[in-house]
Amino acid sequence: MIEASLHRIHLPRGTIVSAQVGAEIKPDEVIGLRRGAMAPVRVPVTRPLHRQPGEIEELLVVKPGDRVEAEQPLALVEGGGVVLAPVAGLVLAASGRDGTLLLAPLAAEESVIGHVRGRVRAVEEGSLVIEVPAARLQGVGGSGEAVHGELVVGVPNPGDELRAAAIDAGATGKILVGGSRASAETLTRARAMGVAGIVLGGVLDKELRDFEAIQRRRREAGGMTGAFGILLVEGFGKVGIDPQLFAWFRTHAGRVASLFGADGLLYVYDAAPLPTRRALARVGDRVIAHRRPFQGRGGVLVGMLEDLHAAQSGIPARMALVRFEDGRLAPVPLANIEATVLPEGR
């Protein structure tokens, strides 16, 4: 049985929330409406009223920060004329130099989607708190937007690299579970093919940066459609997904998941509990190493060395003796491993 976790959806300012406390929401459900601002226009104020630019503040009936509707009075002279808002917008500034008002017209209404399934627990200033009954995986990093889609495993083994050629039209709208890394080319292709998100064990910082730079340039050039998120589970570099976790993903292929790239977070619905991690490993535990030269490798903690011992770096540390899955036996700082625990406690 999965315990529900609380998820906070950050709402851009100006969002009018339509979801009510207690309501059940779906990942693609509209939870609010928002009108963004467009490039501002200057509305002449003093000239139509035959006044000097320096007198603008005395004439205004609105102030910077106000939201106005079309045809709403912006300024008036008693017994004289009135200046009406040409469009609905946000008042940004009044200029005493040229007697104009800077007004940012409101764009068409956009739907705000939560990308999660659950029950609305609270509506707060700037956020919505949702109770999400799903398996929750917190990664070590990520990138991109909130997305949701069906889980698909994209590589045969957890240590395999996700190749661009492995992504086809069948992955459109899906969240793809990759392996130990994906190049910038693969990520770019995935986005172009309409993949919603990718879950990776590791990624090279350089590849991720290159991908983000490509996306930024495309955004600036316009024409970028659809959201895309990346979740990083283990670390940076070429790092495979823990085989236990990978096996869990395999058994949950086809389930709907929500991925929050910037938060490094994944929810999988209608799922069995995830294998968990425990920071302090004990003798007999299955462990995973997090630092080089064993980063991402799994093994069993077979013993603890007495007293402090220097790691290769010279830092004195409590050392664990780990029998790695490739048969090697190596001392590893206890702080650099985590126990991986199956839900049944195995």
């Binding site: 500034a93 200033e125 090279l204 910082d205 920071a279 302090l280 630092r291 080089r292 290769q312």
Partner: protein, 555 residues
């Protein structure tokens, strides 16, 4: 903080113990204070990832004490430690987030940002009239920011300024109502007009940090933001915050010792710079994202800058991955020499940033390094090099580290208790690394300084000649005092303006000795990568090689 010791059981041997605990975002440091031979001492200390449970920490401390404790209590030492009174500080659970709107990025924007960051705020979005973005983009950026408060700055006090009103209007439009406070730190003449943009009671006015083009006045804004973060983010527990405790302890240490003290605490998330004069007047800078997980390290260009300062050849891509892993798993430790080199490179860079923007005293008598990377460096010489390379404290300075991380918890005591605590633990609190003579300038082909070390009861060493770009390490063990006779080249400075090129100074030794450092400030490195690495590895080797005395002079 006052704590009660548990009642003693009748007729059963017990021990007077207390714990100083600093719960960091990545590592928890604990020191056991106990009576040894009638004196209060730090009798054991340990650190572990904060994700581990407390029982483990107690067991580790008990293990360290097991061999040394009285046989009557040694079997119950874990229970005694678990019940011992403790003074604890912690890293703030989360930093305060602020959005900044300013007129110019170089003047008002920079001043306001520095004041906010010094108070521990993270500026999550900053817009300025001259940032090159269209107005709609600025508005959208502010609307998307998740913040606890808003800060508006701009306009000189005498002149007012349309730009400041424009940016205040933009913030008002982006904020769109709500409870989040808005701080106006701009032109005094515009206060009423800016206040009219917001609901009554929302705007708080603070003195302009940039009242004129040639004057900066950050302190009032900094102090106001200090209080605001306490009210909004960490209600009512400021003294138990590690950065605040650290600053208070440094201030009291300066007052008690009548020295000008600079303390730097480099953690996983926070970096704290505390500078205090002989009267205990402290200035500080608390940077919420200034620790080893700082985003600036992994931002574009960051890994390249770090890679350039490494004495070993590690390519930029590997440096970038190592830095990201450091950020992703701050509770782990560098396992390989390459990883340690990257971590130390990052630490030097962060210390340099902290020093460049931190309040600067008129010379430093004592420089203290704290935080796991510095305090637990594998070799004392590495800690010394981190501090000297990063901070470049020009002058004659004693250098020490806080290996147990005890300064923060001591700073959580009441003012009078801090002094008492510092006095009681004076021999154990800091580990002296030695002294350093750091000079600025130098002329190619000339000596930077010629130093003779006169040691009490020993033959004098030197004169030791140090050329520009060089450094020498002279042995001077802990507890030993030496008189330095320094002859400076006319092109070289020790910070303060001096008429004479000859001066004398008294220094005391430590785990490293006396470092004569003529590498200039800031450090100047060759452009070619091979030459640069050769210079950097030579400096590293000079610090780390077993120190041998140079030619001995007359007694």
């Amino acid at each position: 903080m006052t704590t009660q010791a548990p009642a003693r059981e009748q007729g059963r041997a017990t021990a007077e113990l207390s714990l100083l605990v600093d719960i960091g975002s990545a590592w928890t440091k604990a020191a056991v204070v106990g009576r040894a031979l009638g004196r209060w001492r730090i009798v054991a200390h340990a650190a572990q990832p904060s994700a581990w449970d407390e029982d483990e920490l107690i067991a580790t401390l008990a293990g360290r004490l097991a061999g040394a404790a009285d046989a009557r209590v040694s079997r119950r030492i874990a229970a005694l430690l678990a019940d011992a009174p403790r003074i604890a500080v912690h890293t703030p659970a989360r930093p305060g987030r602020i959005a900044l709107g300013a007129v110019s990025s170089e003047l008002s924007g920079q001043a306001a940002r520095r004041a906010a960051e010094a108070a521990g705020w993270v500026v999550v979005e900053a817009v300025t009239v001259d940032d090159g973005r269209p107005v709609v983009e600025r508005l959208s950026a502010l609307q998307s920011a998740e913040v606890d408060a808003w800060l508006i700055a701009g306009g000189f006090d005498e002149e007012g300024g349309e730009g400041a009103l424009e940016v205040a209007g933009l913030v008002a439009a982006a904020r769109g109502g709500g409870r989040s406070p808005v701080v106006w730190a701009g032109s005094a003449g515009l206060t009423e007009r800016v206040a009219a943009f917001f609901e009554p009671g929302v705007l708080r006015t603070v003195a302009n940090p940039r009242p004129s083009a040639d004057r900066e006045n950050l302190l009032p804004l900094r102090r106001y933001l200090d209080g605001l973060i306490e009210r909004l983010v960490e209600r009512g527990a400021a003294r138990q915050l590690a950065p605040i405790g650290f600053v208070r302890a440094v201030a009291e240490l300066a007052r008690a010792s009548r020295l000008r003290v600079v303390g730097v605490d480099l953690g996983a998330r926070y970096a704290t710079w505390a500078s205090a004069d002989e009267n205990g007047m402290a200035e500080s800078r608390v940077v919420a994202l200034g620790g080893l997980a700082a985003p600036m390290l992994t931002a574009p260009g960051g890994p390249q800058r770090i890679a350039r300062t490494l004495p070993v050849a590690i390519d930029e891509l590997a440096v970038a991955d190592a830095l990201q892993n450091l950020r992703a798993r701050p509770g782990s430790i560098p396992q390989t020499e390459e990883e340690l080199a990257v971590v130390h490179g990052a630490a030097r860079h962060l210390l340099a940033e902290l020093a460049a923007n931190g309040p600067q005293p008129r010379g430093i008598d004592l420089l203290i390094g704290s935080g796991r990377t510095i305090g637990s460096a594998p070799l004392p010489a590495q800690a010394m090099q981190l501090l000297l390379d990063g901070i470049r404290p020009v002058g004659i300075v004693q250098v020490a580290i806080d290996p147990a991380g005890a300064l923060g918890p001591l700073g959580a005591l009441r003012d009078d208790e801090i002094v008492e605590g510092l006095g009681t633990l004076r021999d154990d609190l800091l580990t002296p690394l030695g002294a350093a003579v750091v000079c600025r300038g130098g002329r190619t082909g000339h000596l930077s300084m010629r130093v003779t070390v006169h040691r009490v009861g020993w033959r004098s060493l030197g004169p030791i000649e140090v050329r520009p770009g060089q450094l020498e390490v002279v042995p001077l063990p802990r507890g030993q005092v030496a008189e330095l006779e320094i002859e400076l080249d006319p092109g070289v400075s020790l910070g303060a303006p001096r008429r004479t090129r000859r001066l004398h100074a008294s220094v005391s030794g430590g785990a490293v000795g006396v470092v004569l450092d003529a590498r200039d400030a800031p450090l100047i490195l060759p452009r070619r990568s091979d030459d640069r690495r050769a210079v950097l590895s030579a400096w590293r080797d000079t610090f780390q090689r077993e120190v041998r005395p140079p030619a001995e002079g007359a007694a």
